[in-house]
C-alpha cells in the first residue's frame, strides 16, 4: 500500500505548510505537541495523549485566550495527526528493525 505514504505526506504537508488561519509556527507546535503555553498547551496535550478527557472547558479556555474557532479547529487537527504520525512512524521503525534482523 505504497500510496499511503504519498497520501500521508500530502496530508501532513497540507495542514502544516498550506494556507490556514493559525500561523505555520503554531500549527507545527501543535503537531509536535511542544513549545506551546497556557490553555492551548493544555488542550493540545490532551488531544495528543488522552483525547477522551477533553472537556468543554478546555475548548472554552483556548477560545478565551484569544484563538478563533477556525484556529482551534486547525490546531486540534494538527495535534491529532501529529500524535497519530508519531505512533505510525514508531511502528514502521519497529517493523523495519524486526524484518532487518530476521
Amino acid at each position: 500500500m505504497s500510496d499511503i505514504n504519498r497520501t500521508h505526506k500530502a496530508l501532513v504537508a497540507r495542514i502544516l505548510e498550506g494556507d490556514g488561519r493559525a500561523s505555520h509556527a503554531q500549527r507545527r507546535a501543535a503537531f509536535a505537541n511542544a513549545g506551546l503555553a497556557g490553555p492551548l498547551s493544555t488542550l493540545i496535550g490532551k488531544v495528543a495523549t488522552h483525547a477522551y478527557q477533553v472537556m468543554d472547558e478546555d475548548i472554552a479556555a483556548a477560545s478565551t485566550s484569544g484563538l478563533s474557532e477556525d484556529q482551534i479547529f486547525e490546531l486540534v487537527v494538527c495535534a491529532a495527526i501529529g500524535q497519530a504520525t508519531r505512533q505510525y512512524d514508531s511502528a514502521l521503525a519497529a517493523l523495519d528493525a524486526a524484518t532487518r534482523r530476521s
Binding site: 483525547a51 475548548i59 474557532e69 479547529f73 505512533q87 505510525y88 514502521l92 519497529a94
Partner: protein, 193 residues
C-alpha cells in the same frame, strides 16, 4: 459539537447537501461528515483520500478485517461513536455480528485467525502506549502475517488514531442504533472517498 463552526459554519452549497441528506435519510447529518465537509481543503479532502486507500485500497486484509481493526483501535481510544460505527461496518462486511462482538469483548478468546489476532493485539498496544518495538512486530510476523499486511494495518491504525482524537475533542454526538445502522450500511456500500 464543541465548535459552532463545525455545526453551522459550512458553505451554502454544503448546507444544501446536508439538507438533502437529512431529507433522504430522515436522520441528522453525522458529526463525522460535518467535520469532513468543513473547509474540506484543509483536512477533510486529503484525509478522505487517505482513509479510502487504507480501508478500501488493495490489501490482503478483507474490508471486514480492516473495519474490525478500526473498531478495536477506537475502543482502545475510548471513542464510542467510532467503535460502534466501525463494528457495525465489520459485522455487515463479515455477515457475522457475533465475531465482531467476541473480538471487542475478549480479543484473546475470540474465534479468529492468529495473524488477525496478533495484528489487533499490536494495534491495541500501539494505540495505548503510543509505540511498539521490534519484538512486538516479530510476534505478529511469527503468526504468518506478511510485512505488507502489517503496513496495511498500520495505515488503518493511523486513520483511527487521528479520527478518534478529533471525535473526542470536538465532542461528536453518540446517536441511536438506527443512525449507527444507516451509517454502517452507507460506509460499506460507498466507502470513504
Amino acid at each position: 459539537m464543541r465548535l459552532a463552526i463545525l455545526d453551522s459554519g459550512h458553505s451554502l452549497r454544503t448546507k444544501v447537501l446536508f439538507a438533502f441528506i437529512r431529507t433522504v435519510s430522515r436522520l441528522p447529518v453525522p458529526d463525522a461528515i460535518k467535520l469532513n465537509r468543513y473547509r474540506p481543503d484543509f483536512y477533510g479532502r486529503p484525509m478522505r483520500t487517505l482513509t479510502q486507500e487504507a480501508m478500501r485500497g488493495p490489501s490482503a486484509w478483507s474490508v471486514g478485517d480492516r473495519e474490525l481493526m478500526g473498531a478495536v483501535v477506537s475502543q482502545t481510544n475510548e471513542c464510542e461513536v467510532c467503535t460502534k460505527t466501525h463494528a457495525g461496518v465489520a459485522a455487515l462486511a463479515y455477515g457475522d455480528e457475533s465475531k465482531v462482538s467476541a473480538v471487542l469483548s475478549d480479543l484473546e478468546t475470540a474465534a479468529i485467525e492468529e495473524p488477525l489476532r496478533a495484528t489487533l493485539r499490536m494495534l491495541r498496544k500501539l494505540t495505548r502506549e503510543h509505540a511498539v518495538n521490534a519484538d512486538d512486530m516479530r510476534a505478529v510476523l511469527s503468526t504468518g502475517a506478511s510485512r505488507a499486511q502489517i503496513e496495511d494495518a498500520l495505515a488503518v491504525g493511523f486513520t483511527f488514531n487521528t479520527v478518534d482524537r478529533l471525535s473526542r475533542t470536538f465532542g461528536w454526538f453518540v446517536s441511536g442504533p438506527k443512525a449507527f445502522q444507516a451509517g454502517a450500511k452507507f460506509l460499506l456500500a460507498r466507502g470513504y472517498g
